[in-house]
């Protein structure tokens, strides 16, 4: 094939206990947007790491521009014209934009010249960026621009993008797509990795679908419906949560005028947040990552105190720590499973004790009741179908989906009056995600108030009765989910977030 830019032939990569990729073959042509589609754990990340020289394939070969391509490291891949924008940005918070970009280049020009080129390229592609700003102060969208411009400065022939839109508002996605179309018009090929089907249908001409490390199908996504793509990807019919109509009850939790300074240097401050949740309803809170989600959950859990700002069933609880709040019925599950919601090296029994000691009476006069704790862990494992040899196993030995089921199950089985969760299905396989969403809906159905903070809009549309969004630490007024359009949601999420003008307002506030 003379017109192929990159040909993959029979790539295989195995890790102990799991085959990440097996016999993967496909071709990318110059100037095309090629989608790599698959669920979490389908092997997309490993595949692109092989192309980018981070991982060596066990078997198989790659050909780039007619020449065998065996990049020993990312620098070799970059020299051959392959660039990559990572899903989790490989940026350095304390360094400025120009320094970050220089680190991603093999022969960076003199700093002054580099700054000028950054300005030129960023303007040419409609991605304004100030080279002297500290990266830690940028919004998620701007941080992605740093990555993209870093790649563009090397004139890549192939640009790999790993889940680029997961941190963007709908409006920012449009800007990104415009930039990408401009690039393909100039002949750059793009390997676009995503599990967002509508985006792929809008952008890509060709799709390769991976399941369990193997290519299961190829297609032209513009000719397929989202449902057809989803079925190719998952390989079975999805269990869609069923929602029973419930008239919401009385207000259980209300937050009034919550303002909070972030505890971390590059975190987001919360500004004057108001919200109410009623018994039996699910409140969905959307927003792009890094707009105050962690801080809001911390304020609800009691890790950060907010005297006077939070009322639970008529009682002021803002000044109370996590355990007094738990005993009063407010439970939470933070986003980060390992290290925050659970202690990685501790057993599941100990992790059950971590939040369950108060409501499940797992201690007596300060002494631990190990038997009761283990029984509680076993109940979680059983009720939520957590796959593990037993409660003695360390939390980190569980897969992401199983640990998440354990964490959510641990809170649900304590019969909360209010449950607040952050990113309940992040990085979780589809069937576990469906189980978790169903469990949250069941909980609301039984009369609890549920707050779901998530960056996955599809998820929020599916579970939430009312919707609101966080933007730069501010919360929009909640509206009923039914009848919301993508444009409405985008506006609530702050339109194009992270514009320079917003920051001055921040400073004044």
């Amino acid at each position: 094939m003379a017109d192929a830019l990159l040909t993959l032939d029979g790539l295989r990569k195995a890790y102990p206990g799991v085959v990440a990729n097996d016999d993967v073959s496909f071709t990318i042509k110059p100037g095309e947007v090629h989608a790599l589609l698959g669920e979490n754990g389908a092997g997309k990340s490993t595949l692109v790491k092989m192309i980018y020289g981070l991982v060596k394939p066990d078997q198989g070969a790659m050909v780039l521009n007619g020449v065998p391509f065996t990049p020993a490291n990312p620098a070799a891949a970059r020299a051959a014209g392959v660039a990559m924008v990572f899903q989790h940005f490989s940026l350095f918070d304390a360094l400025n934009v120009a320094e970050n970009i220089a680190l991603g280049m093999d022969n960076p020009p003199h700093p002054r010249e580099l700054s000028q080129r950054i300005r030129d390229v960023s303007n040419a592609y409609g991605l304004p960026l100030d080279p002297d700003r500290t990266v830690g102060d940028l919004s998620a969208g701007e941080r992605q621009r740093v990555e993209i411009i870093r790649c563009l400065l090397q004139d890549p022939k192939l640009l790999i993008m790993d889940e680029p839109t997961s941190v963007l508002t709908p409006q920012e996605v449009e800007i990104l797509f415009t930039t990408l179309r401009k690039l393909t018009a100039e002949g750059t090929a793009i390997l676009y990795i995503s599990h967002k089907l509508e985006e792929i249908r809008a952008l890509c001409e060709h799709a390769t679908i991976l399941r369990l490390g193997q290519v299961v199908d190829t297609c032209d996504p513009r000719e397929k419906s989202a449902r057809e793509l989803a079925e190719m990807m998952v390989g079975s019919t999805l269990h869609v949560p069923s929602r029973a109509e419930v008239a919401p009850g009385e207000v259980i939790l209300s937050v009034d005028g919550l303002s909070l300074k972030s505890a971390t240097e590059f975190g987001t401050n919360l500004h004057d947040i108001h919200l109410e949740v009623r018994a039996g309803e699910v409140l969905g809170i959307g927003g792009v990552a890094g707009n105050g989600q962690d801080e809001l959950l911390g304020a609800l859990s009691g890790e950060a105190l907010a005297p006077g700002a939070i009322t639970l069933k008529g009682e002021a609880i803002g000044h109370l720590g996590p355990n007094p709040r738990r005993s009063r019925g407010l439970l939470t599950a933070p986003e980060e499973r390992l290290g925050h919601a659970a202690a990685p090296d501790m057993s599941l029994t100990e992790n059950a004790l971590l939040t369950g000691s108060v409501r499940k009476h797992l201690t007596e006069k300060g002494f631990l009741k190990w038997g009761a704790a283990e029984a509680f862990a076993l109940r979680i494992i059983e009720a939520f179908d957590v796959r593990t040899p037993g409660p003695d196993n360390a939390a980190r030995s569980l897969s992401g989906g199983n640990l998440q089921k354990f964490v959510i199950g641990r809170e649900i089985l304590q019969n909360p009056d209010v449950l607040a969760v952050n990113q309940p299905t992040w990085g979780v396989d589809a069937s576990a995600a469906a189980d978790i969403r169903q469990a949250l809906l069941d909980l609301a159905h039984h009369g609890a108030a549920v707050i779901v903070i998530s960056q996955d809009l599809d998820e929020l549309m599916e579970v939430a009765d009312r919707f609101t969004a966080l933007n730069e630490g501010r919360l929009a007024d909640p509206v009923p989910t039914r009848g919301l359009t993508v444009e409405d949601i985008g506006l609530m999420m702050g339109g194009i977030s992270g514009d320079m003008t917003d920051d001055t307002a921040e400073g004044a506030a």
């Binding site: 990312p74 490989s90 940026l91 350095f92 918070d93 304390a94 220089a102 680190l103 991603g104």
Partner: protein, 307 residues
């Protein structure tokens, strides 16, 4: 009591000498911490440098060779730490403490035969013309070469960290080792080199005590200088010129309290000799009230590339 004995010019000049060992060790540790590694073994590397420098100085008759040997010894000892924390992924705090205890034992063992011996010390440079300038001359231009080497090192580290690609990579590794790894930088190699540099600097600092400042070998003679160097890195917010400032401030306090002791001020000797440590604590408290600005993001964290 006779405060007139205290000559301000001599005081400032000797402050620079008193500060040099700490300055050398602290600038080395700054580089190590900038690369994201916390090496609490500075004291152990310093004392090893002190004894090796002294032994080589005695045997060869050349203090310069003594310094070279001390730097090599400090670097060699630091590699023990480097292998443990970088390849065997041991806890940096525990390993650094271990290095200090090990170094104290090792130095006592090596130093036994050298106790009470004399060593040729570094000659002072009398820089022509400049040293004749009144006041400034005796303060700045009549020192031994190591004083200038230490200031030169500060300048070099400042320049490399701020303006070179190697410095940028080092800072990137210390800031976020996972991201640096993802970009293809050799995190472990960069850190190993930084640790070796830190060890060599600590060795030089130790040798300065045994070859110039005292000059003699006494067991445990660094007396916490390595720990003070660690405190000065924090004081300096990981910035080279502030390391210089911190070390000279500390040197000033040490020299002043010695002068006060000599002048017979009616303050018990014990209070005077504990004052440098008390003041270091007070400065640490002052610095920490300002928050953690400037600490490298990956400082003290274990790096293990999973793929």
């Amino acid at each position: 009591m006779n405060l007139d004995q205290i000559n301000p010019i001599l005081l400032i000049a000797s402050l620079m000498v008193a500060a040099t060992p700490i300055l050398l060790a602290a600038i080395g540790e700054t580089v190590v911490e900038k690369a994201g590694v916390l090496n609490l073994g500075v004291e152990g590397m310093m004392i090893t440098g002190a004894v090796v420098g002294f032994a080589i100085g005695v045997n060869s008759g050349s203090p310069a060779l003594g310094f070279v040997g001390a730097a090599i010894a400090g670097a060699a000892l630091s590699m023990l730490f480097g292998v443990l924390v970088l390849y065997l992924l041991s806890n940096q705090v525990a390993t650094g403490l271990g290095l200090t205890l090990f170094g104290l034992g090792l130095s006592a063992l090596i130093g036994k035969p050298y106790e009470g011996m004399k060593v040729p010390t570094l000659a002072k440079w009398d820089i022509p013309l400049l040293s004749d300038i009144p006041v400034l001359g005796p303060i700045l231009f009549q020192h031994d070469p190591m004083v200038y080497v230490s200031i030169g090192l500060i300048m070099a580290v400042w320049y490399v960290l701020k303006s070179t690609r190697a410095g940028l990579i080092l800072r990137a590794v210390g800031e976020n080792h996972d991201a640096a790894h993802a970009l293809g930088y050799k995190v472990i190699r960069v850190r190993l080199m930084a640790i070796a540099f830190g060890g060599a600097c600590a060795g030089l600092g130790g040798a300065y005590i045994s070859l110039v400042r005292v000059p003699q070998w006494v067991e445990g003679m660094t007396a916490g200088a390595g720990w003070i160097a660690l405190a000065i890195v924090v004081f300096a917010s990981w910035r080279p010129w502030r390391v210089l400032l911190g070390a000279y401030l500390f040197g000033g306090i040490t020299v002043l309290q010695l002068n006060l002791q000599a002048a017979g001020v009616p303050i018990p000797v014990e209070y005077l000799s504990m004052s440098p440590y008390v003041i270091t604590i007070l400065v640490l408290v002052l610095i920490s009230t300002r928050g953690k600005h400037g600490a490298p993001g990956s400082l003290g964290r274990i790096f293990h590339a999973s793929h």
